[in-house]
């Protein structure tokens, strides 16, 4: 977060007390997430120190850290991370592309909407874990089945947001474009896409985290590699520290993806931030 002073530092003489207070408040705000993390670690450490639960159930933070260093240095973690990452990225690419294209067509064609909406609603209403086994039967236990699972889960928010985004293009702006004899392509590239961009980015944000869920669900059901597979394998071997390492790696993966989309949003929607500041 940026430090944003409510006055111009160069041109005004600030009252020293309030400035100090403000700096303190700002520092606290920025340190807050870190404090939460430290608190969680402290409680965790305390629970293991007091031996409330056996180490097999709740291993100490340091044990987990050691396990992490071990699996990173012996190269055991990397292939699983890679397998999941590839599935997630492939699903994000396929799912959001399909959602964009179909969403645009549906937004433009009421007939297509009537034809497809029962199928889409039924699909979306069914929990993904319920039909994931079916996908494994069809696509096998290789990477394909989890890519398909994750693609399906990515597809819906992208589809919905695209439909809503394209339909929410202000009619007044359409009139302006029509009055200027804009071509179909110009209408699409210079009006519909930028007007729908906030919703498209919103869809992508949802999709980014859902893609990780989809991939792990796929890996839980049947896989030969991946962080979901690693969790299952470690659990059956009673290797709780490894389970925790895999879970935290997934967390890091999901957060990284989410932040990347956030960066994209900062760039693509810079005008929104400018306009909000101006008002």
């Amino acid at each position: 977060m940026r430090i944003s002073a409510p006055y111009d530092l160069k041109n005004q003489t600030p009252r020293p007390r309030s400035v100090q207070k403000m700096w303190r408040r700002d520092a606290l705000r920025r340190a807050a997430p870190l404090l939460t993390l430290l608190l969680v670690l402290a409680v965790w450490q305390l629970v293991t120190l007091l031996q409330i639960y056996p180490a097999l159930i709740i291993p100490a933070p340091l044990t987990v850290l050691e396990k992490f260093i071990e699996v990173v240095s012996d190269g055991r973690l990397w292939p699983h991370l890679q397998a999941t990452l590839v599935a997630v990225l492939a699903a994000l690419a396929f799912g959001s592309f399909a959602g964009l294209v179909l969403g645009y067509l549906i937004a433009k064609s009421p007939l297509l909407e009537n034809l497809l909406s029962p199928l889409i609603i039924a699909f979306q209403a069914t929990p993904i874990v319920a039909y994931a086994p079916l996908l494994v039967i069809w696509f096998g236990s290789g990477p394909e089945s989890k890519i398909v699972t994750a693609t399906l889960i990515v597809f819906f928010p992208m589809l919905m947001n695209t439909i809503v985004g394209i339909r929410s293009v202000p009619p007044g702006l359409r009139d302006v474009m029509r009055a200027l004899r804009a071509s179909r392509w110009q209408m699409f590239a210079k009006l519909e896409v930028p007007a729908a961009m906030p919703l498209l980015i919103g869809g992508l944000k949802m999709s980014a985290t859902l893609a990780v869920i989809g991939a792990v669900v796929g890996e839980f059901i049947a896989a030969r590699a991946g962080l979901g597979y690693l969790i299952n394998a470690a659990r059956t071997a009673f290797d709780t520290p490894l389970v925790i390492v895999a879970v935290l790696t997934l967390t890091a993966l999901a957060l990284t993806l989410y932040s990347l989309v956030g960066l994209l949003a900062r760039y693509a929607l810079a005008w929104q931030r400018r306009a909000q500041r101006g008002q």
Binding site: G172, D175, L180, W271, G278, Q279
Partner: protein
């Protein structure tokens, strides 16, 4: 360019299965506008003024009759017709520069050339320092002037304005109106402007068309004998008042 309406009417069909009949919105209406005329259209709300602008702009087809531009039937939008609405319809993701340049961009004019044109237009609109601002950062009057700039770079022969200053406060409104008069005095477009302000109509127009209650028909055609160029001072003389009174009487009798 000359504008003309020949027996034009617009009826909005009832939606399928609706319990109400088709809605006649406008006409039949016939009138002609000389090239370079400044004409204001006033009338009670719901009399089809906006529909009239949309039909003349080629955004909507009339149910019957025709709208003509220099004798040619208007059946689609034309780049020679500039349209402006109460809503500025600026694209919030484009800077003022890129918003004003939009007509040139859609016409395939190179970036350097269109920026040069726009930079030449902005100072006259008081927007020289705001080329890189986004619409969300502008005041209402500035945004409306940017919308005017976008219409002007198109170099239209006809300006159709649908309550363009309706959302502005009285002071800003007068200023932007005078800006518009100045632009018109230089380029001599044919202007048809819908407004709900009688003083504004008298101040700006050569001729005021009063429409009746729905479906809007021509209720009165009033000439404004004030000399040009006009200033805000004109609003305090007898001719102005007499004209405004005549327009008001025509609206109330419509």
């Amino acid at each position: 360019m000359r504008l003309a309406l020949r027996n034009l009417s617009v009826v909005y069909p009832a939606p399928a299965g609706a319990s109400f009949p088709p809605l006649p919105a406008l006409g039949p209406l016939s009138f002609g506008l000389a090239a370079g005329a400044f004409v204001c259209v006033v009338g009670p709300s719901g009399c089809g003024k906006s529909t009239l602008v949309r039909v003349l702009g080629g955004l909507q087809t009339p149910t019957q009759g025709q709208a003509l531009l220099d004798g040619q039937v208007i059946s689609a939008p034309s780049r020679r017709i500039g349209l402006m609405f109460q809503d500025t319809n600026l694209m919030p993701w484009r800077t003022v520069l890129d918003n004003v340049a939009l007509p040139l961009e859609l016409a395939g004019i190179s970036r350097d050339e269109r920026y040069k044109t726009v930079h030449a237009v902005l100072p006259g609109l008081g927007l020289a320092d705001f080329a890189l601002a986004y619409p969300g950062e502008l005041s209402g009057g500035m945004a409306q002037r940017a919308a005017l700039g976008r219409v002007l770079v198109q170099k239209p022969a006809v300006l159709l304005l649908d309550e363009p200053f309706g959302a502005l406060d009285a002071m800003t409104r007068e200023q932007v109106s005078l800006d518009l008069l100045r632009v018109w005095a230089q380029a001599g477009q044919t202007v048809l402007m819908v407004t709900h302000s009688i003083p504004e109509a008298v101040l700006l127009a050569d001729r005021i068309l009063v429409l009746s209650r729905r479906p809007g028909k021509l209720a009165a055609d009033i000439r404004v004998p004030l000399p040009r160029p006009r200033t805000l001072e004109d609003m305090y003389n007898e001719v102005f008042n007499a004209c405004a009174r005549a327009v008001r009487a025509a609206i109330e009798g419509a």
